[in-house]
């Protein structure tokens, strides 16, 4: 299909969607004034379980099985990305590739700032994970903050230091164990009585999810780094 034909088909489809939605949208409840019956019940259930952060309560208490599904999607996608990025038969991990890409020749101030910010951002990430129970935060957000905190070292110009800071096998083990632990904990929470459930399960599930998300992102980024900076085709013998 020529590009022009493709664009024409797109505009036809877009016009169709636009017409359908313009017919449907005026029927929506007024913006900001609609009733949220499910939301009101969720708020009441959350406050009954003594969980101040209702969103954490919905994610890890009221709809925890839903979050198990999301966890497994995340795990599978990370696994898929890692499998797709491994060095195949006719490639090799170029030895010394990491030294070829750093430490970069940047200002000392930049490198020092990166090194000093690393523990601060790690603590902030752990804080976001731990306080997801009572104030905005939680496992998902905190895990992302932890993963990006680790890569500040790379952004400050030091790729070999990043490689030393995150040996891949421990992170892989941590990610898989956290995923398994999350599923087991979510299913085991069914054995607790309704009054114990909120305060017991939410902080623990938060922490497990935080570990899993952080390790997942670190591993995927590590494989992308290898692909971008280190893997090279194996040189064939001269024929």
């Amino acid at each position: 299909m020529t590009p022009r034909a493709r664009t024409a088909v797109f505009f036809a489809g877009a016009a169709g969607i636009a017409v359908l939605l313009l017919l449907a949208l005026p029927g929506m409840p007024s913006f900001g004034l609609g009733a949220h019956p499910y939301g009101a019940r969720a708020v009441r259930a959350g406050t009954d379980q003594d969980t101040p952060n209702i969103i954490a309560s919905v994610n890890f208490d009221q709809r925890a099985l839903d979050t198990v599904g999301e966890e497994l999607i995340l795990f599978a996608a990370a696994l898929g990305a890692v499998v797709l990025l491994r060095a195949v038969r006719d490639e090799r991990l170029r030895a010394g590739g990491d030294l070829r890409h750093g430490p970069a020749d940047v200002f000392d101030a930049l490198r020092l700032t990166g090194a000093l910010l690393l523990p601060v951002t790690l603590v902030v990430g752990a804080y976001v994970v731990a306080n997801g129970y009572s104030s905005p935060g939680g496992g998902f957000q905190g895990g992302v903050v932890l993963a990006s905190a680790l890569h500040l070292v790379y952004l400050a110009g030091d790729y070999p230091a990043l490689k030393r800071l995150r040996p891949i096998p421990p992170f892989e083990v941590a990610e898989s164990s956290a995923a398994a632990l999350f599923v087991v904990s979510a299913l085991a929470a069914g054995a607790l009585t309704a009054t114990e459930r909120g305060a017991r399960t939410v902080p623990w599930l938060n922490a497990v999810v935080g570990v899993e998300v952080a390790c997942g992102f670190v591993i995927v980024l590590a494989r992308f780094f290898e692909q971008a900076l280190e893997i090279r085709p194996r040189r064939k013998e001269a024929r």
Binding site: I55, F140, Q141, A147, F217, L221, F224, Q227, A228
Partner: protein, 94 residues
């Protein structure tokens, strides 16, 4: 006042999304994507959803552009090597 803020944030987001799509070079697009992530984060804060905003800023401003830039670099080096090998093979066969 709050309504004007919501409308302004929505318009900013729509404009940023258009900017991301209209930036054809993927390398530049990664940076515009980072800005779009920030605009979305601001919109989510204005809509009184701090958890979602935290998630969006962490993911859309840091992790996603980094992934795009790394993938682009890997694809470009791999593509160049693949093209060189194909050209060498054609020369041998000719």
């Amino acid at each position: 006042m709050a309504d004007a803020l919501v409308v302004a944030a929505l318009l900013l987001t729509a404009g940023a999304a258009t900017g991301v799509v209209l930036t054809r070079d993927p390398g530049r697009q990664a940076i515009v994507l980072s800005g779009y992530g920030l605009a979305l984060g601001v919109l989510f804060v204005v809509l009184q959803a701090p958890d979602v905003a935290m998630s969006q800023i962490g993911v859309g401003t840091v992790v996603l552009p980094l992934l795009v830039v790394l993938a682009l670099r890997a694809a470009r080096t791999a593509g160049k090597a693949a093209r060189k090998r194909a050209a060498a093979r054609e020369e041998d066969g000719a």
